[in-house]
């Protein structure tokens, strides 16, 4: 099978995951486009027991009401541990995509229900779209987040009906034609279709995480609704929420919107006019393959658009990518620690993530996080630099202590015998980044400078590695090129 270049493989691993180590990139390189994407997408075939064992020994989620062991910080630590150590990076990346898409916050719904939703998003990430959407809509988290449980016959609450259309499926206007997709009347009618949606914990179910969806008949509006009147999508009847979801998911506007969301997250931000053909091409895949997310993402990741020069480093790394990426690329050590709040260092990754602007399980609002330059302002950028410093200089004699570590031994294997090779090696591992000869020279100059700023040469002894190679990693992670994905 024809392989792909090292750079293309690194690109694929950054986008379908969080970036790979040189060994992982080498492995992907030999498989070719389809082979590599197949491997990453069919993740259920990949043995993930090592990570599962680590999760079991580090977390105790047996009782959702045991606050010291089950809380938002623990959920974040749990997810960062998964993202750092999973051998199925695309599973986590898709879950993150859906978390951003159905942006639900624990601050309103509580920790138990966003955890349940996270499990739903993970296990159904590649389903048929309406199947995933219906599960999410009937999950307690969404019923609480957008006030579904208080949406009752006679006095509808429009919150879910509006965001379902605006954010979760079609957008206010069609991504290709620009035509309005729905009216205020549709918001009202659809709110009525979702009245009476509730959830409960079955009395005899010993699993405290297990909740069931139900439509409460007295609260459901059992009368005729008309949606999308006057259009080819018009439907009149005693519609319920599932009917509405079925109608919306069959609309081409939804196909286009989902394609756009996937492109903006995984490939490059779609422009207006110039990308219509691209949207239509992948909207066809959605329409022709029974709305299968798996088929759609497979088509996207094997496409010329994905592997084009335009797509390379065309996105700004999200905080999660900035945090997890270099750990995996450098082979740094992250020990999640044990259950409960033993030490602040246990929670280092969630803490950093908050200051970079992405608190998992707590998106800013229902539209999710603003991507790309939305991640960048003077504060979040300074905080990225502080994280770079943190990762580069965290030293330990006990590699098993909780926290984030870059060991001297690991650094020794990354440092080369002269400054040029050392700079090239680290730019390759942390990217590969193409930064131009001026920056390479400046970084070499840094490696060779003494405290007075004079050139003192470079010899990779232990002191130089501890001082200068750590400093070099900090500086590379501060480069604007490194902020891109």
């Amino acid at each position: 099978m024809a392989g792909i270049t090292y750079d293309a493989a690194a690109h694929l691993l950054r986008r379908m995951g969080f970036g790979g180590s040189p060994a992982e990139i080498d492995d992907i390189t030999s498989r070719g486009r389809e082979g590599a994407v197949d491997l990453l997408i069919n993740y259920e075939q990949i043995d993930n027991r090592a990570m599962e064992d680590m999760l079991r020994s580090s977390f105790d989620f047996s009782d959702p009401f045991d606050f010291p062991r089950f809380n938002r910080g623990e959920l974040q630590r749990w997810w960062f541990t998964r993202m750092t150590y999973t051998r199925r990076p695309f599973e986590e990346k898709m879950t993150l995509f859906w978390h951003n898409h159905f942006a639900t916050s624990a601050s309103k719904t509580g920790d138990l229900f966003v955890y349940n939703q996270n499990l739903t998003l993970r296990s159904h990430a590649l389903d048929q779209f309406e199947s995933l959407l219906l599960r999410v809509a009937q999950d307690p988290a969404m019923l609480l987040w957008l006030d579904g449980i208080t949406n009752v016959r006679g006095k509808p609450n429009e919150n879910f009906a509006r965001e379902l259309q605006e954010l979760f499926t079609m957008g206010i206007t069609d991504a290709v034609t620009g035509e309005p997709n729905y009216t205020e009347q549709d918001v009202k009618e659809i709110a009525r279709a979702f009245t009476g949606w509730k959830f409960f914990h079955p009395r005899n179910d010993p699993n405290p995480f297990s909740y069931q969806f139900i439509v409460n008949p007295p609260e459901h509006d059992n009368t005729t609704k008309t949606i999308y009147g006057g259009t080819q999508w018009a439907r009149t009847g005693n519609l319920d929420g599932a009917d509405v979801i079925g109608v919306i998911c069959a609309r081409r506007a939804t196909a286009r919107y989902v394609v756009k969301k996937l492109f903006d997250f995984f490939v490059y931000p779609l422009g207006e006019a110039i990308d219509r053909a691209t949207i239509e091409k992948f909207a066809d895949v959605y329409m022709n393959r029974n709305h299968s997310i798996k088929e759609l993402v497979s088509a996207i990741f094997t496409s010329d658009e994905f592997f084009s020069q335009r797509a390379r480093f065309a996105l700004v790394k999200s905080p999660v990518e900035i945090i997890v990426g270099p750990i995996r690329m450098l082979g740094a050590r992250y020990n999640p620690g044990a259950s409960a709040r033993e030490a602040a260092s246990n929670n280092i990754l969630p803490a950093v993530s908050i200051f970079l602007g992405q608190e998992l399980f707590n998106p800013p609002d229902v539209s999710g996080w603003k991507l790309n330059l939305g991640w960048i302002n003077t504060s979040t950028l300074l905080n990225r630099f502080t994280y770079a410093d943190l990762l580069a200089i965290n030293r330990t004699r006990d590699l098993n202590a909780p926290g984030l570590w870059l060991s001297q031994e690991q650094l020794r294997s990354l440092a080369k015998k002269n400054s040029k090779k050392t700079v090239k090696k680290l730019l390759s591992i942390l990217g590969p980044l193409d930064v131009g000869s001026e920056i390479v020279a400046a970084l070499r100059n840094y490696l060779e400078s003494d405290d007075g700023g004079n050139s003192a040469g470079f010899a990779p002894d232990d002191l130089t590695i501890d001082k200068k190679v750590r400093g070099l990693i900090h500086l590379i992670m501060c480069l604007s090129e490194f902020q891109l994905n």
């Binding site: 429009e158 200089i393 920056i439």
Partner: protein
């Protein structure tokens, strides 16, 4: 003679303060159509995100329709008083939410203007589009530049010190979207710094010099990397300045720890009192999307209008404004500072079944501070059934861009047309 980034790097370790570096292309741009910058006049913009319920903020307590549309939520005149028993009624028609005792007191002192019925044509009930419309001052909400960003591009470029900032939140509001000006966004002061390995302090200058060399490159504008690089350079430059200044802040005002807006406004006060050029500041507080729990919803206080999310938020708003105003007064700055509050839309006049309200249209906004001509402006939208649109929403009376134009023309000394693209009438709340 300002130095370029490159010259700055070449001066070597620790030789210059970064404070004087102004990128060349900014200076040339600034020589174009610059507005005279008058740092004495300061503006603080306060965004209440989520769509504040105007009808329960400035309460039309004598309007029978208000009571019939909101049987559960409406305040009767007897309920318009604070916990201390002080009335919050401001006229025969209106009273303030009882949680807003401090703002009522400021109103009585002549420091509060309320503009009624503020909105825009063809209102959009999406939070995100409506916010974009307010941020960009564009009726379609398109483009990445905001009204304050446009003003900053015209008026603030070339100033050597910190002149504008967004305070206390992780995102930079789109109002500050600028073409050339990098608006600092400061979440908190303690983290606002460039930090290197403390084990080797002697290496710090090597690190910052290498960083500045990289961030000093001119990378393609209009691309992500160009914007990131500018922000990187400005963040480190500005951080070092801010660190030097804000430690001089002293105040006798005790800002409460549990009020997020007060925390943000305290940071604003900290900047304004220690950086004389700091003149355009922005703070935001979320939580106003009151589809449910707008009033008490828990068993113990079910239906109690004095508790619930909206009362808490307005209490925070009112209390924070008062403390900030006192802080400014203590530092002799109260005559120099204008505050403007906005929210992307109001709520619908009729209530839903969740002790809340759904997305609406026009709402009142507050303009506060010593400089305002106190009183009511604009006109309250009619609640008559015939005056509501098919979705049950009120009509606006004052275009929000009239409020912006009044502030730009009458306070900031800018040509509002250059910022807003058209001429808008003066609302009258400034002399």
């Amino acid at each position: 003679m300002p130095v370029t980034r490159r010259q700055f790097i070449k001066r070597g370790a620790g030789m210059v303060t970064v404070g004087i570096v102004i990128p060349k292309f900014w200076l040339s741009a600034a020589r174009g159509e610059q507005i005279d910058f008058t740092p004495r006049r300061k503006l603080v913009v306060i965004q209440l995100a989520g769509g504040n319920d105007g009808f329960n903020t400035v309460v039309p307590y004598t309007d029978a329709r208000y009571h019939s549309l909101r049987p559960t939520l409406a305040f009767r005149d007897a309920e318009l008083k604070t916990n201390n028993g002080t009335s919050t009624i401001i006229s025969n028609e209106f009273g303030l939410h009882p949680a807003m005792g401090e703002i009522k007191a400021l109103y009585d002192e002549g420091r509060v203007a309320i503009v009624l019925g503020v909105g825009y044509p063809n209102p959009n009930l999406s939070h995100f589009l409506s916010m974009d419309i307010w941020h960009t001052a564009d009726p379609n909400g398109v483009g990445s530049r905001g009204w304050l960003g446009k003003y900053a591009d015209l008026a603030l470029i070339g100033q050597p010190s910190l002149t504008a900032a967004s305070i206390g939140s992780l995102d930079l509001p789109k109002s500050f979207g600028a073409e050339r000006f990098v608006v600092p966004n400061i979440i908190n002061f303690s983290l606002y710094n460039f930090i290197a390995d403390p084990n080797y302090p002697g290496d710090y200058n090597n690190q910052t010099n290498t960083f500045n060399f990289a961030a000093g490159r001119t990378l393609s504008t209009g691309s992500f990397i160009g914007a990131i690089n500018n922000t990187a350079f400005e963040s480190v430059r500005g951080a070092q300045q801010v660190q030097k200044s804000i430690s001089n802040y002293k105040s006798s005002i005790a800002y409460p720890a549990n009020n997020p807006l007060a925390a943000g406004l305290q940071m604003v006060a900290q900047l304004m009192t220690t950086v004389p050029e700091a003149s355009l500041l922005y703070v935001q507080m979320g939580g106003f999307d009151s589809h449910s729990d707008q009033i008490g919803d828990r068993q113990a206080d079910r239906g109690n209008k004095g508790v619930g999310d909206h009362a808490t938020l307005l209490k925070w708003f009112s209390e924070a404004i008062k403390l900030f105003h006192d802080d400014l007064t203590e530092h002799g700055l109260a005559d120099d500072v204008l505050m403007m509050q906005w929210s992307e839309f109001g709520r619908r006049p009729d209530e839903n079944a969740s002790f809340g309200t759904d997305h609406g249209t026009a709402a009142p906004i507050f303009v506060l501070g010593n400089p305002v001509r106190s009183g009511l402006y604009g006109a309250q939208p009619s609640l008559a059934a015939t005056e509501l649109d098919p979705a049950g929403n009120v009509k606006f009376n004052v275009d929000f861009r009239e409020v912006y134009a009044t502030i730009l023309d009458r306070w900031l000394g800018a040509d509002s047309k250059a910022v807003l693209g058209a001429q808008y009438p003066n609302v009258g709340f400034l002399g």
